[in-house]
């Protein structure tokens, strides 16, 4: 078989078979087509463990907690339906709820921007061809690995306690410190500091983003005489906005869910005076200590809606400041 010269335009496309396929060939094609359409039951067999996890450990407990949020449930005796009472009580008659909302918002809104700024700053410093750079990167990432650990929170308690290291440090400069952990005006800031210190995860993501930035743009900018600051604000930051956005969304969600540091640093009390009563800690206390699991479930759903709200706002606001390079046409 020969191809006509005039057919050159479609030369790359596989030509239709000149002769009809035999029955075996047709069967094979049918099966291949069925596979492409995703037919057959056996892929689901392989997915079954995942589905079991999804429905058993996520969907069912979520729906169950939605039901429980409308009940009075003390964990020990059967749940009683009470309608929206948990929700109305929360907003109208629970001062600790508002304390926890206040502490959590303060925690998230202060710690996340600081953490991202620090993460980006360090990522830029670590994005250099230095000798032993791997060691530095590991060293800066380390706090994040340890971050969730109870041990670190315990150390924090000691460092910022009345006779702690931090006050010793202030003492060198002749400043008389106070007990930072157990004063209601400062305790939340020790938690914020702990969160900011764990900037490793967003830092690694920033670092990956920085590696992708096109070098030629910087070279062009250098020729045009752009200084370090100009290059950062006019090139690096705009090109990184998708990554800033990604980190922002995740860190805000993580921030709202913070539990361990508050639990450990305050000895499970959320004190002093509810100043470290982060929302998750209050939720835990209500459910497992005060035996109000129905109320705790309602709290969880409010948290869910608040996080969903923040995330939605982020995505909407993101349209105005996040630049994807495929937008530049």
């Amino acid at each position: 078989m020969t191809t006509a010269k005039t057919d050159g335009a479609v030369g790359e496309r596989p030509a239709a078979p000149a002769t009809p396929a035999g029955p075996r060939e047709r069967e094979r094609m049918r099966r291949r087509a069925a596979r492409r359409r995703g037919g057959g039951w056996w892929p689901y067999l392989f997915l079954a463990p995942w589905f079991a996890g999804l429905f058993g450990l996520t969907v069912y407990p979520m729906l169950d907690s939605l039901y429980l949020s409308f009940t009075d449930f003390d964990l020990l005796t059967p749940a009683k339906w009470i309608g929206a009472q948990n929700y109305t009580h929360m907003f109208s008659d629970d001062p600790v709820f508002w304390d926890s909302v206040h502490a959590t918002l303060l925690y998230v809104l202060v710690s996340v921007p600081l953490k991202l700024a620090l993460a980006l700053g360090v990522a830029i410093l670590l994005n250099r061809p230095l000798k032993g750079i791997g060691v530095y990167r590991a060293a800066f990432y380390l706090p994040s690995l340890l971050g969730g650990a109870v041990a670190v929170a315990i150390v924090w308690r000691q460092v910022f306690g009345g006779d702690g290291l931090f006050n010793d440090f202030l003492g060198w400069f002749g400043i008389k410190g106070q007990d930072w952990i157990s004063s209601p005006d400062t305790s939340i800031y020790t938690l914020i500091l702990l969160a900011v210190w764990q900037f490793g995860t967003p830092m690694v993501i920033f670092l990956a983003g920085l590696k992708q930035l096109p070098k030629d743009v910087y070279e062009a900018a250098a020729i045009d005489g752009a200084g370090t600051l100009t290059r950062f604000f006019r090139i690096t930051l705009p090109l990184l906005t998708p990554i800033v956005f990604f980190n922002l969304v995740l860190q805000i969600i993580d921030g709202f869910k913070t539990f361990t540091p508050a639990y450990v640093v305050s000895n499970g009390t959320g004190g002093p005076l509810d100043s470290t009563m982060l929302y998750s800690l209050y939720l835990y206390k209500k459910g497992f200590t005060d035996l109000q699991m129905g109320y705790a479930s309602a709290l969880a759903w409010v948290l869910f809606l608040v996080i969903a709200g923040f995330t939605a706002v982020n995505f909407i606001a993101g349209r105005y400041w996040v630049h994807y390079d495929d937008d530049i046409d």
Binding site: M62, D64, S182
Partner: protein
């Protein structure tokens, strides 16, 4: 609450490989589109990558906040070993284990699995286990919580065993009342609990001060505590802040005025707002005169015995019974003991009372109640168990037990036991005193916590005494109303 955003983290790769057709080829006519090719040959634009990754990670993280908060009730454990739990200090753990080893030798058929921890989180865990159907068969119970669990039907009534496999000879009626709820026995008290003030005697003597008399008043306490601060050159305060201290402190103050902490039906507070204000004013004065430490010290010790003002050397008197007694000593100083002061000393109106230390209770869902009762009986009557436990669960409940251990006691234990004896005698001699407190109603622990927090709010200057007292009554009432 600590679930990681597992589905979200895995999501980007999965999403990318299913939504993009596997055509490793640049779309014609759009040269400016930047495409990234992954090793398998799939294409992902950065926009898609970050949008889907962000969105899915967000969704996964959101889901995790909800799934942690559901549960259901179930039946008790049915097979395997008998499980027993308790909380306490290392000394108490060792003593329990030693005693149980003897029990095992005599009862090789009963297999016991023990789990123990500190008090923190002990009941959180128990609640979860009950809900999940894996509650222990036998547990150490808190006198403050026994009524709550008994009324919810979690604990097994023990009356049918008493006099048969459970020998309670020598237990006084007042003592058994600590484990009795609505007329039924739900826990065997481990010992006499009295509220003593623990004193660092070494520290006091170093400052040239004498131990106050046993029959003393709140004003005497103030006098000696102020002296401590003066003589130590301002380094040490006298007594840790008792303004938010409940059982050991305020309850005694109110009872002496004829006001119990909770009303008999457990539906109201038994004391008046005036009593509470008078109490907080006394402690405000103590802080003003440096007889008590500033609130940061008090606040740091909340739920943390190692930060107690006496343990860290910031005070010489403490109301926290944990510094010595049930948990063993956690300071090196020679300690001594005093009864909680009274307001107006007549002896007839006694605010002090006797309770049951800790208790041993069996769970209702357990199928090993008979074996659990055998262990309770062993701890109540067996000489080796009594000797092993010494004072680690309170002053032993029976005369026989007290005489068994008296020979082997160290100096501090002896002083502790003598003071407990003295207080319980004083309580029984009082003619115009309230009966022993009713078992605390559900929500009691929230109200005690509220008292602590309220005292701190006053001490930190966030609220006036008057405003905080009325807020306390409002919130306590709302907790008791359920």
């Amino acid at each position: 609450m600590q679930q990681a955003a597992r589905p979200g983290e895995a999501a980007p790769a999965r999403r990318a490989s299913t939504t993009h057709a596997p055509v490793p080829q640049r779309p014609a006519g759009d040269p400016s589109r930047t495409l990234r090719e992954d090793p398998v040959g799939h294409q992902i634009s950065r926009r898609t990558l970050f949008r889907t990754a962000g969105g899915l990670a967000a969704a996964g993280a959101l889901g995790a906040t909800l799934t942690a908060c559901a549960g259901g009730t179930g039946a008790g454990s049915d097979s395997g070993d008998l499980t027993m739990t308790w909380w306490g200090s290392d000394e108490r753990h060792a003593a329990y284990k030693k005693a149980l080893a003897t029990f095992q030798k005599n009862n090789p058929k009963i297999k016991i699995e023990t789990r123990y921890s500190g008090y923190d989180g002990y009941f959180d865990k128990f609640n979860t286990q009950v809900a999940g159907g894996s509650a222990p068969d036998l547990l150490q119970m808190d006198t403050a919580l026994v009524a709550q669990y008994a009324r919810k039907g979690i604990l097994a009534p023990l009356d049918s065993y008493v006099g048969k496999s459970l020998d309670l000879t020598g237990f006084s009626k007042t003592l058994l009342a600590a484990g009795t709820v609505d007329g039924k026995l739900y826990g065997v008290p481990s010992g006499i609990g009295v509220n003593q003030l623990t004193v660092n005697r070494t520290g006091l003597e170093k400052l040239g001060l004498k131990l106050p008399e046993r029959e003393w008043t709140w004003n005497d306490l103030k006098a000696v505590a102020t002296q401590v601060h003066k003589k130590s050159g301002g380094k040490i305060y006298g007594v840790d802040d008792g303004g938010g201290s409940t059982l050991q402190c305020f309850e005694i103050f109110a009872r002496e005025k004829g006001q119990p902490f909770f009303s008999d039906d457990g539906k109201k507070l038994g004391f008046s707002a005036d009593t509470l204000q008078e109490w907080w004013e006394f402690w405000a004065g103590m802080r003003r005169d440096n007889a008590s430490p500033p609130p940061a010290v008090t606040s740091a010790a909340h739920n943390d015995l190692t930060k107690n003002a006496v343990v860290i050397g910031k005070a010489l008197f403490t109301f926290d019974s944990g510094v010595y007694g049930a948990g063993g000593s956690i300071t090196d100083a020679q300690l001594d003991f005093l009864p909680t002061p009274q307001g107006d000393w007549s002896g007839a109106r006694e605010g002090n009372f006797v309770n049951g230390g800790v208790l041993l209770s069996a769970t209702k869902a357990s199928k090993k109640a008979a074996d659990s009762v055998k262990i309770m009986d062993f701890f109540a009557q067996d000489p080796t168990a009594i000797k092993d436990m010494r004072l680690l669960r309170g002053i032993p409940p029976t005369e026989k037990a007290r005489s068994l251990i008296s020979a082997g006691l160290n100096e501090t234990d002896k002083l502790n036991m003598a003071m407990a004896d003295y207080i319980s005698q004083r309580v029984s001699k009082a003619t115009d005193a309230l009966p022993a407190p009713v078992p605390p109603p559900g929500g009691a622990d929230q109200i005690w916590d509220l008292l602590f927090q309220s005292n701190l709010a006053v001490a930190f200057g966030k609220k006036t005494i008057k405003a905080q007292a009325s807020e306390f009554f409002d919130q306590a009432q709302s907790i008791l109303a359920g």
